[in-house]
């Protein structure tokens, strides 16, 4: 085992505890609005780490995104096509395990940022926005994100 590997190996066993503690500290320092902004940025950063490739259709997006998520045990998505939107259901998200149940009001923004960045990289223009539809997330339930044309806030 090389020294470099020894220093950088994932050490996943205690990671959730450290991440949870970090989230707790952040939650005492920031408002929900600020927490969502931070976690959205984290999701955007994650999207830079693993881009989706060879995506041509809605089905490709669902399959490739789910594959990327499942490989990391982050759940999977189901995409539904609607007249005025593209709905993305995120199932089995690790948010509660990582950040605690109290975080569910804001922590899903990490996937909002991730999905938004993916879709932008695949051609969704600035006129389209991905937003979490309902921020009142119940543990164990799928989380709905919606890509649609939005009025820009001033």
């Amino acid at each position: 085992m090389s020294k470099k590997y020894q220093k950088t190996r994932p050490r996943v066993l205690g990671a959730p505890e450290a991440i949870g503690a970090l989230a707790d500290v952040l939650a005492t320092q920031l408002s929900h609005e600020e927490l969502r902004a931070v976690f959205y940025s984290v999701g955007t950063k994650l999207a830079e780490s693993f881009a989706l490739e060879q995506v041509e259709t809605v089905g490709d997006f669902e399959a490739k995104a789910s594959q990327a998520l499942l490989q990391r045990d982050w759940g999977w998505i189901k995409v539904e096509e609607r007249l005025e939107s593209l709905d993305i259901w995120l199932n089995d998200a690790p948010l509660q395990a990582w950040f605690g149940e109290a975080s569910l009001i804001w922590s899903a923004a990490i996937f909002e940022g991730l999905f938004a960045s993916w879709l932008q990289s695949l051609g969704a223009g600035e006129g389209l926005e991905l937003r979490q539809v309902v921020t009142e997330v119940d543990p164990g339930e799928a989380i709905l994100f919606r890509l649609s044309r939005q009025l820009k806030s001033s």
């Binding site: 041509e56 309902v134 339930e141």
Partner: protein, 147 residues
């Protein structure tokens, strides 16, 4: 009965209830509560609860939990074409307003717990948790609704 104070800044009702009952508000409550303790300020007129639901969400079954790798509903739709169709749709404000605000007079305080108020302008989201605390004052349970 109840002492009602209004916190304009937070838009939250700060409620103090002389005696709490976990049941829907009834006309008899006013008379009963009035006998116990006259309110210091006049309560608001009783109005139907205003519950704003997210737009389009009513048709969505949030409780579903689908299996991975099941057949996509629209697998062959071109993503770029879908983006173009969506971009051509009329603009509208999407629903993100979740407002479970019940009239105090309805005494629906338990249902307010863990509810939230979101910024109707949708972006950025401002969410406020409501917390229900209680303490015993003179043998009566007093409730505090706080954010």
């Amino acid at each position: 009965m109840a002492k009602l104070e209004t916190d304009v800044e937070s838009l939250l009702k700060f409620a103090k209830v002389g005696e709490f009952k976990y049941r829907p508000f009834a006309k008899s409550d006013e008379a009963e509560a009035g006998e116990m303790n006259a309110p210091q300020i006049a309560p608001e007129p009783v109005q139907p609860p205003r519950v704003a639901k997210p737009i389009d969400v009513a048709t969505v079954d949030r409780a579903r939990f689908v299996e991975p790798n099941s057949a996509p509903q629209s697998a062959k739709t071109s993503l770029s074409e879908k983006f173009a169709v969506l971009a051509s749709q009329p603009t509208k404000v999407s629903g993100r307003l979740i407002l479970k605000k019940h009239s105090f007079a309805k005494r629906a305080l338990p249902s307010l717990q863990n509810s939230m108020i979101a910024d109707p302008k949708d972006k950025p989201l401002i969410a406020v948790f409501l917390r229900l605390d209680s303490e015993n004052v003179g043998g009566k349970k007093r409730l505090y609704l706080t954010k």
